[in-house]
Amino acid sequence: MTIFDEELNALREKILKLGSMVETSILNAVKSLVERNSDLAKEVIKKDHIINALDVEIDEECVRLIALRQPMARDLRQITTAMKITTDLERMADLAVNIAERALELNEEPLLKPFVNIPRMAEIVQGMVRDALDSFVAGCTRLPYEVIKKDDEVDDLTVKNFEELLEFMLKDPKIIPIAVKRTYVAKYLERIADHTTNIAEMIIYMCKGKMIRHTTISGE
């Protein structure tokens, strides 16, 4: 293995580390809301700067590798993919912080109704994030295509969540501030799923050298 290969491996490992930190943030943010655990929400907010620092570190490493190694072909695609993925991951962590902030507010209010849609969405999103990161390491499998497909399930649940809350709001306008915040949370999760879809699309680019973003068929 060349030194350059080792550097590429180290970069991959950093992306995975960032990914697992982001995954934990999302998980804990949703947990802090569902389990009404404000300490956990504060922890998510507090730890975000670590994710930001790692994002910057990965970007710098990518620029360094491009400058010093002048990568070509699959190496070039892997490094440019890493740069884009890290931006998406960092944004996902910011959205987890937004969820935690809403949790802090909602935890002070009465529970409107038990959380059903949001935990379900979080579960799907978590699977998507994990599959996307796995496919970054495993390379060219069917996994990124599966990730892209799952985005629709999250979108559907976002709509369902909104419609249910809308009924509550129509019945009792006093609960609107609470209900709106709960729709925000669903929206944040939906955005996280979108970023994860971006990651999957970039991994397909990394593997196949073909950009499928903004095409109608985000499949094969």
Binding site: T2, F4, Q70, P71, M72, A73, R74, D75, L76, R77, K208, G209, K210
Partner: protein, 254 residues
């Protein structure tokens, strides 16, 4: 001037040195007014292929060819080819700058002179023009009578390019033209090639893959005498189709 889209059509072409097949059944079309780069490890046949385009390999004992090289539709290995005329139309610049041991002026005027151009005024014009096109005029206008060998490496190489341009070639072949030059002279030559491309078709052999990536429109990758992959330079360096090409350009060869 150039009319065909492809100035060269190389068809199932092979070159032998004795029993050794240096170029093996290569087919390749060279587009007019583009830069085509040929890359590949040492001994892959890229220089041999390049030299075949103006029959420089004729000078090597026991070399023979099979297949066709059509230049503007005519097989240059046909019986009627005037090789001297061919080498005027398809010029060549080598790795090491090799000006004649004479003045800057004489270096450039040499070709037109031996072809019978005698009028001083016309020769002056040709020399100035060639030196301007080679981006050397400003640097040597005041020392046209000084020895060509007194110039810097980069200037000497541009003098050699001017010498070729004075012959009004349709194609210029470059064999590692910057490998003996410093980065600034290299950048000058690279800019020059991209400028010349508007009027001359360029084929360049280079070991410097970044150079191929920087300046060429098309890239051909050769290995063991064979043409492994040919395509848009963008495609070759971002998303090559062949595994051998990928291994070579990512530096994981062998």
């Amino acid at each position: 001037m150039v009319e065909n889209k492809y100035i060269f059509k190389i068809k199932d072409f092979s070159v032998y040195y004795g029993n050794f097949k240096a170029v093996s059944n290569v087919s390749l079309d060279i587009e007019s007014n583009k830069i085509t780069a040929i890359i590949g490890p040492s001994g892959c046949g890229k220089s041999t292929l390049l030299r075949s385009l103006n029959r420089m390999n004729d000078l090597i004992l026991h070399s023979r060819v099979e297949g066709q090289v059509l230049f503007q539709g005519v097989d240059i290995y046909g019986k009627d080819t005037d090789v001297i005329e061919l080498r005027k139309r398809v010029g060549m610049v080598f790795q090491k700058p090799n000006p004649f041991p004479s003045s800057v002026y004489e270096n450039v005027a040499y070709g037109p002179k031996i072809r019978g151009m005698k009028k001083k005024g016309h020769l002056d014009e040709i020399v100035e023009n060639a030196l301007i096109r080679a981006d050397l005029w400003k640097e040597v206008r005041d020392k046209l009578n000084e020895s060509g060998m007194s110039l810097s490496g980069g200037q000497m190489q541009r003098l050699c390019i001017a010498r070729s341009l004075a012959q009004e070639p349709e194609v210029l072949l470059f064999d590692e033209p910057t490998s003996a030059l410093d980065p600034i002279s290299t950048a000058n030559i690279e800019n020059l090639l991209q400028e010349l491309q508007k009027t001359v078709t360029i084929v360049i052999v280079t070991h410097n893959m970044q150079q191929a990536a920087r300046i060429s429109n098309y890239t051909a990758f050769m290995y063991l005498g064979e043409m492994i992959e040919f395509g848009d330079t963008d495609t070759i360096f971002v998303n090559p189709k062949n595994k051998l090409t990928e291994e070579y350009i990512t530096g994981r060869f062998g």
